[in-house]
Symmetry: C2
């Protein structure tokens, strides 16, 4: 398809598509004339992803470029390919190691991981920004005096694991490694608010069931 | 306790405590002299909450004041008291009703709620900003061409419901209505990043189990 059709089908303006092309977020089309190029369904899919990340997910352009680089890296095994793409997304701040709450939080997180038997997560813990984000979030609660410990986290871990199984089942429905990595990134950025809202709606439902609506 | 001890035990500076007092985020202490006042454990707990919301949760001061107003409103039943405090927190943008994706999203959300039998959530749907946030988040995915429908949401709804049961069990461990409402707000603002990180860690664990680490 020509640029005009790509714009119409994606809902992204021609000026924005040209900007994405210049920024290397979209591969050039196949040249078919001095001023025209041909784009395929792969371009359309990628354009939708770039727009989702930048416009809807508020991911910065440079970060988006880095995420796409990992998605397109055929040299990576699937865990690292998905992981690298997700790890390149904006991450919560790393914990402040001088804070004693961080030491306490790391102990509780490690105890939780041992209890639920997440051996790979433990093995990846020094590499993974997600592990650091968890320690940091738990440390904040401990610092403020709220009782968050391994036992409380364990009671949620099995639920989160079941959610992760569904997530990966969904990712596996996509045919290529590239599309699988794209789906994982879209899930992390845009399905997250869906899950969050469903969680809060479930709280309202359960609160109304226990205590009545008024 | 005096102001100095309140500051030391809370880790909040005297200047910041005075600012919170002026802004009405903390009730005045009991006057025991021309320039001194006495503060109790209730002040300490509230100070910790205010600091958690403003400093760690980045909740604006005016919003915090409104949230506290609902927490302290003894005239409200528990569902509405918890709900009002949570609904006063910053919410995601409401859906754009002119967008056809919003109509499609609302249909899928309603079908999901009917399937899982969340009757109270359906009844509250026109009132609840959480329902609007869900419709809006689903509409974004539909607009971008990603297949999010009632069936996919149903597969997550039961998990989120189980999480909500744990949340409310936790809230119920606090003695007074006021402390219950406080715990619900802290959970919404500060336990959310813990759950999110646990979810992503579960994805890493499951990915490594399915595909190996490298």
């Amino acid at each position: 398809m020509r640029l005009a059709e790509l714009s119409e089908r994606s809902g992204v303006s021609i000026a924005t598509i040209k900007y994405y092309l210049r920024e290397g977020l979209l591969a050039p089309g196949r040249r078919i004339g001095a001023t025209t190029a041909d784009y395929d369904e792969g371009h359309l899919r990628r354009l939708r992803l770039v727009r989702a990340l930048i416009q809807d997910g508020q991911v910065p352009v440079a970060t988006t470029r880095e995420v796409l680089g990992h998605i397109d890296d055929d040299s990576l095994g699937r865990t690292i390919r998905l992981g690298a793409a997700l790890w390149a997304l904006p991450q919560p701040p790393a914990p402040d190691e001088a804070d004693p709450s961080v030491t306490a939080a790391r102990r509780e997180v490690d105890a939780m991981l041992r209890t639920v038997g997440w051996e790979s997560a433990r093995e990846l813990s020094t590499l993974s920004p997600v592990h650091r984000a968890l320690v940091s979030a738990v440390a904040t609660l401990i610092r403020l005096g709220y009782p968050v410990d391994a036992e409380l986290m364990v009671s949620y871990a099995q639920l989160m694991y079941q959610a992760a199984v569904r997530d990966l089942d969904f990712v596996e429905t996509f045919p290529s490694e590239e599309e699988k990595a794209e789906a994982a990134v879209v899930g992390a950025v845009l399905f997250k608010p869906v899950l969050e809202a469903m969680h809060r709606l479930a709280q309202e439902e359960e609160s109304a069931r226990r205590y009545g609506i008024v």
